[in-house]
Structure formats: structure tokens, C-alpha cells
Symmetry: C2
Subunit: 476 residues, 2 copies
């Protein structure tokens, strides 16, 4: 051990222990409680407050992994995990991540790992083509959609105010960013980080199906122009976080082009749906976007983190971010240095896992999984729709159902919210399934999302029974 | 395969293939060329331009991994990789990453994986204690030091101009950030992203050992105050990227306290050195920092990405970043939601790999590796110092040596630069070792960094011979 675990036998021993642990975990996860049944502070209280002075044998770490860590894990791998957006770290993606960790390359420059840079370009193009988007777009992989949207809005800021990267915003014009009331909070966070301020974000009203109203957008842009505020970017969403609604991108793109405003599309969740042709409609107009993000780590069976950011204008990203200190200068003609397109210097080999996923499933296999998930959500929505005591709160275009318990005797919104909060807590406590919640047009909604490969009709039937059983047992 | 690789046999087959691939790779990496001997575009040209429609068997992906990807990899695992900062993805860290990928949890909220949040708190505290810093600091793990510094300066901005996250910078005061001429480019990038502009960064001159001059800092702060510019933050560096110099943090902290300026310390590389007690001197004064970053993925045998960001003021980070939409609201008293301290929502279970590293090595084992690396660098520096044709260009406090070829017949700086560029290219092309370069006080420097566990005296002897042999063969 004192040789630092670099011997062949140490690698062999540890890889074998880990392989066996993962196999056992994957086999048993459906029998564990979905939501970790622990109180805040429990795990921390079980661990030594100070680090070990001397090496401990692997058996000790793996025993603690099982005994202490596992009980405090909320199992996103459980077939009954139906909260937020369900995700799957499929086996091909997981072993891709293992290989990336073992290679441990940093792709800040082309030459520090040509394979990383080029595979990232190739697989992001594959993914764009799979969604029916331009394979010629410049693609790169970020950690999260929050970062992708931040990067995109940073590029938009530089295009709106050339030189702002050097001069800063103080003394410059007020800028505005437009998105719908249903857009993700990452738009606000990006505006905060970029120094635009949260007040620069105009939350445009939505129609009855939670889609951005283009007349509202138009009015907001004109109002800003009248007030001397410079419209900087519109963020349209394909598959909003709460209801998975799809903004009318063709009309928004038209407006953006006419007004000269950068259009960023956040398709973090629903972009992957377009791998199945019948969902291509959702991305109509996106080919006209200036930047676009979709996350394979959400609905494309790729482990965290893998957010694909595209742009038709790589030069705008270079203009915003490129900065080459002497110690990173290179002289390789034709080499693409990805550090020039982002603020992060270090870059993991994330493309490997996505490459493995594409090759393992093929487009047809991916589409089949997506269809199956949408079918399951629609099945659940039918059960809700046929029930006297439950109701749907939004359309179900993809794999997410928003619904609530609404027994005839409850009419007040506040009473409904209280009842549904109690119901959700009761269901989640039982550990068979886990759902999250949201608020849609002021109404508290139960939020069920199918995204795990292991989720099947039996699981959804269990979920439906859990909600009914717990509702019947609730004393209001 | 159509069941989507979620069967036990698929997991078994893939994990076994990957395990065997990693074992073979780790065994052979020292026999591969360090720097990928390919031209830009080679790998991309070998891959199909469109994604596969149908599943392919794992044998096909693994064959392409070997045949196409591996030749285009620059091997950071090679014992002769001596560029930038050498790093090691040790076996305990790599299997920690495998387990994190297999769990595939998203720790955006405490409840979405209590183990992730709490282990992250515990191991960052362990690491702080191991460096002799306050174990009570609030710690979290980001992807890169670039992100950590961006997050810290975002918190500093909010403290300097309360409300700026909502109101933005337009119409606000000019702000200034101070760092030395040797500080990392991530300070400039953070200023660009945050809307301060690159011009807000004051690059303070350094002394003869590349350390920030506190009198220069003092003068710059006073000059800004006179001009009505608000000093926002100082970024001190412990272990600069080029020469690993250490800024005089105690005096800088004194000045920051007196002036009410946020002090961020970038110890991304050299922080880990302090795990060995004889290098604790380097972190003197850092306990007074407002924020501090050190990267276990650099010199603590942890695979990318793992950057530990600390603060004495977690509330300042919450003030800058917390924003809770309805779909993420929780009601768990005492629960820490890490999304409130950053702009990224998604969060991988990075703490696992660092936990395994601490337990595998123990503090004594980690310190032993660090001592060994410093000893090797100093050995190399002695060879350079004793040579008539080479010279050192900076002190060697840690594991990095900056030197150059300087035969008596060459005197002009431009001729020296040209000769050393040629020499470096010749050495790197041979594939036995890889060094990078930097520029120190206008002089082009060869940059040799020891950070790989496999690097031993024989490797450094080879490196030294390579430089001498190639120099002798160069026609100037």
C-alpha cells in the first residue's frame, strides 16, 4: 500500500471489489427505499471528524460504503424514482465513465488529449443529427444545463455589447433577457452571475398550455426598446421543468431574427425525445437558434454529468471566452482548443460515455426507450383522467405527468395544497416510489416523471395504488 | 440488448470488459508515447460522421477504443508526463468514480441524496484539516478551480455591492480585483464572466521570486480608491501556475482586513503540499482568507474533476446564489441544499472518490507521496544547476522545475527562446517524456512538473538525458 496503490495487483483488487459492489447494488436497488430514510446529520455523525492518519484496507471503505453511505442514498436508479426528471446511468455509460476516470486526461487543449476534443466534436454532432438538428453545429459538452445556459448568455452578452468582456458592464447599457414564466431558474442564475442582475430577466406570460406567449414577448421587447434597454437574448424552452411544455420556437425565432436578438433554446430534458421521429415536432424552429442545449444525462441513458451545448456561432463564444496565457499557448495549426469556448479550463473526457451509449443502443434502441417512457406516462395520465378523485393539471406531451388529488369535498386551493402535500409526503415516506412536486398556475401539483430504464407498467401501477391508498388513509 | 443493457448479465459483461481494459491499459501505459502522435482531425476522420442506427456489440466499441481512441490520447498517466501540473488518478479514486457513476445521484438538494451532501461536507473538512486549515470552514466540491474562483468572486461581488445579483452592474460602481502578474488566467476569465470586465483586474508586479509585491498591491488599492473604484477582492496564489511561487498571504490578509476587501486564495496546486507538515509554511495566513480553493485532482491522487472550495462565510455564497423555484422547495429542517451555494444545479457524487483516497492512503501515505515528488523535482533541479549548458529560471519550492537550455554561445533572448522551443519540440516528439513551457519575466522556460505516482528517479534521469541528447543534436 505504501507504494500508493499503483501496482497491477492493487488495480486488480480494487477494480474487482468495485465491480462486484456495483453488480450487487444494481441487483438490489429495487428492493431499497427510494428516498433515503435518514435525518439531516445522520451520516456526518457516523463518520470520523478527522481524516485517517494511516492507510485502511479496501474492505473497510467498502464496508462503510454499504453500512453508512448506502442507507443515506436517495436511489435515482430505483425503478420507482419518479421525481424531477427521471434519469438512467446505463451500463454502457457507466463503464464509459470508468474508462474516462482511468485515462484521467485533461482536454483543456487539443494536444493535451486530441481524442477528447475530437470525440467530443463527433458525438455532439451525432446527437444533433439524432435530434434532427444541424450536424454541422459546433458542439461541446458542459457539466450541467445551468453552465451551458450561462455560457450561451455570456456569448450573447458579448455580441450585444462588443468589448464587454474587457470593459465590464458598469457604465454600459441596461440589458434584458426574456424567457417564459415556466423557464428554469438557471436563466435567473445566469443573469445574476453575468452581472445583468435578476431584474434583467423578463418572465413572459404563458398560454393555457404553459407555452410562452409570443405577443407577450413582442410587447416586452418593444417596451424595453422604448425605455432604452437593450434586448440581449431570448431563452425559449422545449420541455419546461414543471409541465414539459414547448414554447413556440418558430415564431420566437422569427421575432429574434427580426429584432437581432440572440436565441438560446433550453431543451435540456425534451431535446432527447426528438431521437424518436414522432417527437421531432418539439424541436421545430430550433435549427434557427443561436445556441441550444440538451442533456444526455437527463433522458439519454448517460450518467451525470453530460450537457451538450451547441452553437451556430462558435466565434461568438471565442469572442466571449478566449484568453490564452503564455503557459497554454500552442502552435498546432488546425487544432481546436476547447478552453477557448468556456470559462472552465479543466475538461473531463465526457464524450466517451456518450459514444458508448450511442453505440450500445443505436438510434433505434434509444428511440424505443423514449417511446416506452412516453407510453408509460400516458398510461398513468389515463388512469388519472379516469379517476373521480384525481385530476390532470397539464398536458402530457412527453414522459411527465402533473396531477393532483381532488376529492369533491375539497374546493379551496389552500385546502387542496395542504392535502396534496400531505399525500405526497405519505407516499414518499413509504419508500416504494418517489414523486416530486411543482406549482402550476398557483396550483400545487404532484409531479411524476418517467426516465429510468427499469421503470415499467408494474411500477406505475404501484405508484397509482400508493397514491390512492394513501389518499384514502389521509385524515383531513 | 433491446432491453437496454439493464439486465444483470449486461452489467456483468460490460463491467468485466471495462475492468480488463483498464488493467491492460494501466499495465502498458508506460510503453506508449506520452504525447499523442497524431495530426489534428485524424480521429474525427476515422469515425462515422453519423450515429449508428442499430446497436453494436461491446466488442466493437472496445476494439475502436483501442484502435482509434488510444492512439489519439496524450497519456497523463504516463510516468514521463511532466507537463503543466502532473496528476494521478489513483486506483482508489478511479473506483470511487465508478461507484459514483453507478449510483448516478444528483445532489442538488439534501434530500435528493443526503449521503452526497454530508460526505462532501465531511471529506472537505478532512482535507482542510490535512492542510492545517480550519476544519470548521464550509467546504464544497466544484469541477475546476476556474469555477471555484468564479464562485468565490461572485460572492465577493455581492458583499461589495449588496443587491447586485438582482440589480446588475449597469449603473453601479466600477469594481476592481487584484492578483499578481503570475496569477492564473481564471481570475481574468472570472472577471469577464461576472461582468466586471478584464480591465477590472489589476495585475500586481512580483518580486524576484515571482511573489506578489504587497507594496504594489497597497498602491493599486489606494489609486483605485482615489479614482472612485471600489476594491472588491484580492486573489492571492499559493503555488502559481508557472513557477509555483507563493504570494505573501499573511501581509496580504492584513491589508485585506484593514481595507475590508475579500481575500480569495488560489492554492489549486500547492495546497495539497501542506498535507506534509514541512510544507505548511506555504499556507501561512490562509486561515484568514474569506475563500480558498485547492484541487485534489491536481496533487492529491484523485481523478478529475475535484476542486475543493472553502469559505468562512457560507452566508455570502447564499446571498449571491440562492434562488429556490417552487419545484425545488423542500421542508426538511436542518438540511443543507448545496444548490444554494452555486450557479450549477446538478451535482455529481464527487466526494466518494476523495473519501476513498483519504482512506486508502491516510495522511501519512499522502504526505509520503508528496515528499517523494518534491524530492524528485529537487534532484532534477540539482542536475540542471550543475550543468554548464542549462540553467534554472525559478526557485523550486514544490515539485515543479523551470529551466532552460543556455549554451554559452547563445546570448540573445530571441535566440534562446527559439532554441528552447526547438529543443522542447524535439524532446516531446520522441515520446519518452513530455514537458510544457511557460514564460517567466519574458524568458521562455521549459516547465517540468512531477505529480504522477509512477514517476521515479529513472524517469527523471531519462528526461534529463533526453534534453541533453536533443540539445546536442540541434542544429542552430
Amino acid at each position: 500500500m505504501s507504494e500508493g496503490w499503483s501496482s497491477a495487483s492493487a488495480w486488480d483488487e480494487l477494480l474487482d471489489l468495485a465491480r462486484r459492489w456495483v453488480l450487487r447494488y444494481q441487483g438490489q436497488v429495487r428492493r431499497l427505499p427510494v428516498l433515503a430514510p435518514v435525518e439531516p446529520g445522520w451520516l456526518a455523525s457516523q463518520l470520523p471528524p478527522a481524516p485517517p492518519m494511516d492507510p485502511e484496507p479496501p474492505e473497510a471503505w467498502f464496508a462503510d460504503l454499504e453500512r453508512l453511505v448506502l442507507p443515506a442514498v436517495t436511489h435515482w436508479n430505483h425503478p420507482g424514482f419518479l421525481g424531477y426528471f427521471g434519469i438512467t446511468g446505463s451500463a454502457p455509460g457507466v463503464v464509459g465513465e470508468l474508462i474516462a476516470a482511468a485515462l484521467n486526461v485533461n482536454g483543456m487543449l487539443w494536444k493535451t488529449c486530441p481524442a477528447l476534443t475530437e470525440l467530443e466534436q463527433v458525438v455532439t454532432s451525432w446527437y444533433a443529427q439524432a435530434m434532427g438538428l444541424p450536424g454541422s453545429w459546433f458542439g461541446m459538452i458542459a457539466d450541467t444545463a445551468s453552465t451551458s445556459t450561462l455560457l450561451a448568455l455570456g456569448a450573447a452578452r458579448e455580441r450585444a455589447v462588443p468589448g464587454v468582456r474587457d470593459l465590464g458592464l458598469a457604465g454600459g447599457p441596461q440589458l434584458a433577457v426574456y424567457c417564459s414564466q415556466e423557464a428554469h431558474s438557471s436563466v435567473d442564475k445566469a443573469a445574476m452571475v453575468l452581472g445583468l442582475g435578476r431584474q434583467a430577466v423578463r418572465r413572459i406570460p404563458t398560454d393555457q398550455h404553459f407555452r410562452m406567449r409570443v405577443d407577450g414577448l413582442e410587447a416586452a421587447v418593444q417596451e424595453d426598446r422604448r425605455r432604452g434597454v437593450l434586448p440581449m437574448a431570448v431563452v425559449a424552452t422545449v420541455g419546461t421543468t414543471s409541465s414539459t411544455s414547448v414554447d413556440p420556437v418558430p415564431a420566437i425565432a422569427e421575432l429574434c431574427q427580426r429584432e437581432g436578438i440572440w436565441l438560446h433554446v433550453d431543451a435540456a430534458y425534451a431535446g432527447s425525445a426528438a431521437v424518436a421521429e414522432e417527437f421531432r415536432w418539439a424541436l421545430a424552429g430550433c435549427e434557427r437558434a443561436d445556441s441550444f442545449v440538451a442533456n444526455p444525462h437527463k433522458w439519454l441513458f448517460t450518467p451525470l454529468d453530460c450537457s451538450c451545448l451547441y452553437t451556430a456561432h462558435p466565434q461568438a463564444f471565442r469572442a466571449a471566452y478566449a484568453l490564452v496565457p503564455a503557459y497554454l499557448s500552442t502552435e498546432t495549426p488546425g487544432a481546436l482548443d476547447l478552453m477557448d469556448y468556456t470559462f472552465q479550463l479543466g475538461r473531463r473526457f465526457r464524450a466517451l460515455k456518450l459514444w458508448f451509449v450511442f453505440r450500445a443502443f443505436g438510434i433505434r434502441g434509444l428511440a424505443e426507450q423514449i417511446r416506452r417512457h412516453v407510453g408509460l406516462a400516458q398510461q398513468f395520465a389515463r388512469w388519472v383522467g379516469q379517476s373521480c378523485d384525481f385530476e390532470l393539471l397539464a398536458p402530457v406531451p412527453f414522459s411527465v405527468v402533473n396531477f393532483r388529488w381532488h376529492p369533491p369535498r375539497l374546493q379551496e386551493e389552500s385546502a387542496l395544497e395542504k392535502a396534496n402535500r400531505q399525500l405526497l409526503q405519505a407516499v414518499n415516506r413509504r419508500g416504494e416510489v418517489f414523486c416530486s412536486h411543482t406549482v402550476l398556475r398557483g396550483r400545487f401539483a404532484l409531479h411524476l416523471a418517467v426516465g429510468n430504464q427499469r421503470t415499467d407498467e408494474e411500477v406505475l401501477r404501484t405508484a397509482w395504488e400508493e397514491f390512492q391508498t394513501c389518499a384514502a388513509a389521509l385524515k383531513l
